[in-house]
């Protein structure tokens, strides 16, 4: 079923179409929720809320963007609301951060045996410590493979800001990795051999 047929079926209240939609886009919403809220405990409820919001607001979808982009924007707004309500994080628009607050002791089990898997986990831990705007943009670009333009549509951030968050985010990861793993050169060449 293509997105046009899916949207038409949803508009007529078809719950089988809703099942199809959830199966198709659940990973997108799940990843956004996990990365933006940083809380696994709330993730399932929030994902459910987002899909129900998508179903109720489907009449507002005009087909001007891709369905995935529109669902992404619904998920983004729901996550922002959730973060504001829970007051766990300040949603600042001041994008500049020097570094992330992640001590060596927080990730010592990962540093013990540095293989590809633990390096991936380490990068994920660094992302978790970044401000929400960085986490969101990094997830949408690298994991969900949205373009700059689509990320702009989803988040409302200008394209330049998106690019800036991406490059700064990557730089922060690089710097932190080098700080946490002083002999990173050796690790990288070892990982290459494996």
């Amino acid at each position: 079923m293509d997105d046009v047929a899916l949207v038409n079926a949803l508009k007529s209240g078809n719950t089988n179409a809703f099942r199809f939609l959830v199966d198709k886009y659940r990973n997108l919403v799940w990843h956004m929720v996990l990365r933006m809220t940083n809380r696994q405990e709330d993730a399932e409820d929030l994902c459910q809320e987002i899909f129900i919001r998508v179903f109720k607001q489907i009449d507002k979808f005009r087909g001007e963007s891709k369905l995935s982009t529109w669902i992404g924007s619904v998920a983004y707004n729901a996550c922002v609301d959730h973060i504001r309500k829970s007051k766990r994080e300040v949603l600042s628009t001041a994008g500049s951060i020097g570094s992330v607050d992640l001590a060596k002791s927080d990730v010592s089990p990962l540093l013990g045996n540095l293989d590809r898997n633990s390096i991936t986990k380490l990068v994920h831990r660094i992302i978790e410590k970044m401000p929400v705007q960085y986490r969101t943009v990094i997830t949408l670009f690298h994991l969900e493979e949205f373009s700059y333009r689509e990320i702009e549509e989803i988040t409302g951030m200008p394209e330049g800001t998106v690019k800036s968050y991406l490059s700064r985010g990557r730089e922060i990861i690089r710097v932190k990795m080098m700080e946490l793993i002083p002999d990173i050169q050796l690790v990288l060449f070892e990982a290459d051999k494996c």
Partner: protein
Amino acid sequence: METELDSKLDGMIDKALREPPDYIIPDSFTEELVRKLEKQLAWKELLSEFGLKSGLVLASLGIMTICLIYPAKNDPAPFIQWVANNRFILSGIIGVGIFTFIFDQMVLKYMFKKSGKVL
């Protein structure tokens, strides 16, 4: 050397960024969500149907009341006296009517919908 290290590090970061988070969505997620939505839709339908039927009943009662009151508008005393004398019977009939209406239109329908039987 520095550039080679940079590109290797970049490559590794790229791979890590493309990996999804560790936690995976539960297998039962879709079915639970569809059930939840169906329940919400059933409630919405039930309430709108009940609202519509209640409106119809109230409108009919209003028309009946006007029909009863209108002929006695010049001398309402006998009519008021009649209502006062039969107040228990009248309120009993209205009470049974409302109870039956709510039980039939709300409770039974909700129970049938909850058990998955189609009405």
